[in-house]
């Protein structure tokens, strides 16, 4: 594969929410299913053992902000309410988490929520370097506003710009909230939301091309 399939932006009008995009390769999966049915092991929803100690520390630091810890692997998922996000971020920074690895958002379309996660770790405090902590919060999907943490972690600047263009989440107080990777017209379609469905290519090239021309936005 030398290039991604042509992205065909659908109409920006909101569609009926679909639970999940269509699986890409259904026939292949079926043909292979008979020879190798891999049993799915039941997940163990826990905090990873190496994070137990950190969890106590973080809970202590975030006392009064009602942090909840969601089961996860490879990092510690700390969920706080949106109002407490900035305060929690400030306390975590004082604790030593000095930069942002990733700002990621997830579209829980069934629950009408976005989850915004700031994955943090530390450079200068070598004890904390081995941990990744995700400071996350749930926000309303209809009015996606969340306070920007760029003021606290400058390293979040470009990540927040990316999530802004991909999800339309508005980071209040961001110094320079512009689309980063996409052109504004494409960013307006909010491509990473679940109701933006990537159309798979079919074999009918002519019809595809007609449809492609019809949805041309330029």
């Amino acid at each position: 594969m030398s290039s991604a399939p042509e992205k065909k932006p659908n109409a920006p009008a909101p569609q009926a929410p679909t639970p999940a995009p269509k699986p890409a390769a259904q026939p292949a999966a079926q043909s292979a299913a008979k020879q190798s049915a891999v049993p799915a092991a039941p997940p163990k929803p826990t905090i990873p053992p190496e994070y137990q100690e950190l969890q106590k520390k973080v809970a202590e630091v975030l006392k009064g902000l009602n942090p909840t810890f969601e089961p996860s692997r490879g990092y510690l998922d700390v969920v706080v309410a949106k109002e407490h996000l900035v305060e929690a971020a400030r306390r975590l920074k004082e604790m030593g988490f000095d930069h942002v690895i990733s700002v990621g958002a997830i579209d829980y379309i069934a629950k009408k929520q976005f989850k915004v996660m700031y994955h943090l770790t530390s450079y200068l405090n070598e004890d904390l370097s081995k941990y990744v902590v995700a400071l996350s919060t749930y926000i309303e999907r209809d009015s996606p506003h969340v306070p920007s943490l760029t003021g606290i972690w400058l390293s979040a600047e470009f990540h927040e710009r990316e999530e802004y263009e991909m999800f339309g989440i508005i980071f209040d107080g961001h110094p320079d909230l512009r689309p980063l990777l996409l052109t504004p017209a494409v960013a307006a379609l909010r491509p990473l939301r679940k109701d933006f469905v990537v159309k798979e290519e079919s074999d009918d090239i002519e019809t595809d091309y007609e449809a492609y021309l019809a949805t041309k936005w330029w």
């Binding site: 999966a29 190798s36 490879g74 690895i101 470009f158």
Partner: protein, 410 residues
Amino acid sequence: MEAAPRLPGMEVRPVERHVYEVQIGPAHPGSGHMRIFVEVDGDIMVRVDPDIGFVHRTMEKLAEGRDWIKNIPLFERMAILDACNITLPYVEAVEKILDIDPPPRAKYLRTLLCEINRIASHLYGMGIFGVFLGHSTLYMWAFGDREVFVQLAEDLTGARLTHSYPVFGGVRRDIPDDFPQNARKAARYMRNRLNEYAKIFLNNPNIRKRLEGVGVLDKNRATELGIVGPNVRASGIKYDVRLVEPYEAYDELDFEIPIFEEGDSLARAWVRVEEIRQSLNIIEQAVDWLERHPREGFMHDRFWKNAPQLYKDIYNGKIDYAGKYRVKLMPLFASLKVPAGKASARVEAGRGEMFYYVESDGKNVPYRVRVVSPSFRNVIAFKYVMPGHRLMDLPAIYGSFDYFPPEWDR
């Protein structure tokens, strides 16, 4: 300006009168597929705005519509010369959700390919850096020597660049018989060459003058910007995922993390050279380990027990398969359904820390994959480090961060 037609995606920004705006890129010999808006006041850059996304391929969205295993070849396209490092955290994160741990031989094989990729990636970066400073000799040398390691990777995996080598629960195949001596020969050759690199490039008075004290990032500033990889180690921060959170076989191997205190472009170039040296050590150790241990178990039993007998015979070396069969291990994973859960993983890729967040809702496709590539985290440096330098320092800084647009655009 009001009368000018507004095309979709067009931005109109005022520029101050005494400032001259130069757009470096996107179709420009000195930039990759990116554009940098540079406002120069005289010869000094006052505002730098990296405009990225010219090779954006919507990988995060595409991943949500593909089978778990098919995402590995997809993510490889981010940085084909660093393919193992780039896909490894995805594989690790999925393994964490599946709750399986690959066998030790698979870990060593992964480590081996990671280090080969790291060297190839560093050599590529150094070559580009050389040509940015007009030093065509380093460019040719580095690209020529990279071929050695691309060949090694081909011996190991069967593909020069997009190996798709690590898969869930193990790797795709074992080392061929003549691999160990080839690897040792390559390591010997490369050690000699690194001294010559230092002579012609890093200790060249002309190049030193261009790089010393240019683009200085001190410890605190680098932390604040969240720079990753060799760039942050050049600023005196002792942070390497191989060190702080050892993955695969790194906790059993003996290597050092080169740290430089200066934080300028020259230090960033030196870190890469020293890292190549350490990677050569790691390759030799990994090869020794692989030679000492029997050739079995490079795939987790949970997947391996479902494999047809033909696969097992071929991969265990009982049947000479060269040219006879077209063997694919991938069908083992075609119906893979990953249980609901979420995991993150990070590894130290060639250009820095590679991070994946994977969330599954129990289907045969991921629910969300968040990919943060090292180059993406280094982009911010251009915005904050370049202002105050001269326009001619732009390639010196840009090259020293080892840019790779396809990686940060994803």
